[in-house]
């Protein structure tokens, strides 16, 4: 009986924790998109006002923002600093891969960021401004969508985890 009770507790606690983690991931996604928007704003200023060379601008942006968003800029900057014939687009995609591995972003968020690979650094100030504005607006929309998901999704994940745990227990009994 004691073993059974322990098993039930473990299953419900495990599934509940999984659900709570899922709910936390939704919260994190909103914060990370917001961080990304701010970091891109910083990068935009470095490029359009100070004309900082891209590798240094990325490095400075990495220092400006927190983890895990900083890994996008750190990895991109490292790629360019190595000066092995790598283009800004290739370095950016490398950074994006690192971000994907460390952040809670969805594919749609990463798709928006990947469009930057086509433009980053390789046009005049006016064009850079336009593309940074566009990308930040698109991220703003993603952030609003993510916020809406938070309300419904957080409850779904948090309660869902315990409910799934309870159902598994019922099935096993």
């Amino acid at each position: 009986m004691l073993l059974k009770t322990l098993g039930i507790t473990l299953i419900i606690a495990g599934c509940g924790s999984w659900g709570l983690l899922g709910a936390r991931r939704i919260d994190k996604r909103v914060a990370q998109i917001k961080d990304l928007r701010m970091a891109l704003g910083f990068l935009e200023k470095e490029i359009t006002y100070i004309h900082t060379p891209l590798s240094r601008a990325l490095e400075r942006t990495a220092r400006f923002c927190g983890t895990p968003v900083s890994c996008l800029f750190t990895e991109s900057s490292k790629g360019l600093e190595a000066r092995e014939g790598i283009t800004a687009g290739e370095a950016w995609m490398k950074g994006l891969q690192a971000l994907k591995n460390n952040a809670e972003l969805k594919a749609a968020d990463l798709d928006i960021l990947s469009t930057a690979a086509l433009q980053l650094g390789m046009s005049d100030v006016g064009e850079q401004k336009k593309f940074f504005s566009l990308i930040q607006e698109e991220l703003q929309i993603q952030e609003e969508k993510a916020l809406q998901e938070v309300e419904s999704g957080r409850k779904l994940w948090a309660y869902g985890g315990f409910i799934v745990g309870a159902m598994i227990v019922l099935l096993l009994l």
Partner: protein, 318 residues
């Protein structure tokens, strides 16, 4: 003439090329590098190396060939990667340079750009969709102007003679002007050093990169980089108290007016003009007026007969 620095071409120019082309050019010998004048990348055309007066190419295996048709055909990707490398992936930081059609890279070498020109009103806004790139090797030939110095700095006069260098393109007038700047700025046992201002409209004389001269123009030389000649000469007289002003390739009415202003202010002017000989100079009304007024005291005619910088004639207008 003694040529310096050419072993650094590999680092200062070839390192900027796309990785595919960089590998192909790895086999260039020192002899080739010593005489290399240009590397031209044109989209879908064979890569072209101007060595002395001849054009060469390299094939896919990196073999040096004279038959250009068998040369490696430059891909759009090569152009893109090379532009990315030259600009440090930051074209936005080179807007002014791109408007002027070239970027100067560390070492003072110039990279000419061609592609689709974007206009804003009557002005060039930028170049996009680059289709060709031309690397021009900046040659620093120390003491190449030494034979001219006795004519420019007369022992009997404390002034430097106002001098016009007459030369067709690619005959070494920029190299000679640069060396004159260095020699006058350094001084010697025979003449004192002078304050020199180089008005470098096309960033060729001093090869400035981000405003800092990359080529030796002497210790007492101020460089007004990318500055229009006429405005630069007047600005220099007012603000930098020069004894000598050096500028390349005059030709416009504004240049002539500025030279007259400098000469009247007691500042010596050494400059150059595109022409084969004095007769051709006299066919240009604007410059002819200047010569008639006696603005220049010495004329130097250069050619390429025995290689760039061949001294053909010294003209005195005393």
């Amino acid at each position: 003439m003694v040529v310096f620095e050419d072993h650094s071409i590999k680092n200062k120019i070839i390192s900027y090329l796309s990785p595919a082309i960089k590998d192909m050019l790895a086999g260039l010998t020192d002899e080739h590098l010593l005489r290399l004048e240009e590397i031209r990348l044109r989209s879908n055309q064979p890569i072209l190396l101007k060595i002395g007066d001849k054009d060469y190419s390299v094939d896919n295996k990196g073999c040096f060939i004279e038959n250009l048709e068998k040369g490696y055909r430059v891909k759009d990707e090569d152009i893109y990667r090379t532009i990315a490398s030259i600009s440090d992936n930051s074209l936005y930081a080179f807007e002014e340079e791109i408007k002027r059609g070239f970027i100067t890279i560390p070492g003072g070498n110039r990279v000419g750009l061609a592609g689709q020109i974007v206009m804003k009103g009557n002005d060039i806004k930028t170049i996009k969709d680059f289709s060709s790139i031309c690397f021009r090797v900046a040659r620093e030939i120390k003491n190449c102007a030494q034979p001219l110095i006795p004519y420019i700095c007369l022992p009997s006069s404390s002034m430097v003679m106002n001098t016009l260098i007459i030369s067709p393109p690619r005959c070494g007038k920029t190299t000679v002007l640069r060396d004159i700047a260095r020699i006058l700025s350094s001084g010697s046992d025979l003449f004192p050093p002078r304050n020199v201002v180089v008005v470098d409209e096309r960033s060729e004389l001093a090869g400035s990169y981000r405003g800092v001269p990359q080529l030796n123009v002497g210790p007492r030389t101020d460089v007004l980089d990318a500055c229009p000649k006429a405005q630069g000469m007047v600005m220099a007289v007012r603000s930098l108290s020069p004894q000598v002003i050096i500028a390349d390739e005059i030709g416009r009415r504004g240049d002539v007016d500025a030279i007259q202003e400098c000469v009247n202010a007691g500042v010596s002017v050494i400059t150059s003009i595109h022409a084969g000989n004095l007769d051709e100079v006299n066919k240009r009304p604007v410059i002819k007026d200047l010569l008639t007024l006696g603005a220049f005291k010495v004329g130097v005619v250069l050619s390429r007969r025995n290689g760039p910088g061949t001294l053909e004639e010294i003209i005195r207008w005393d």
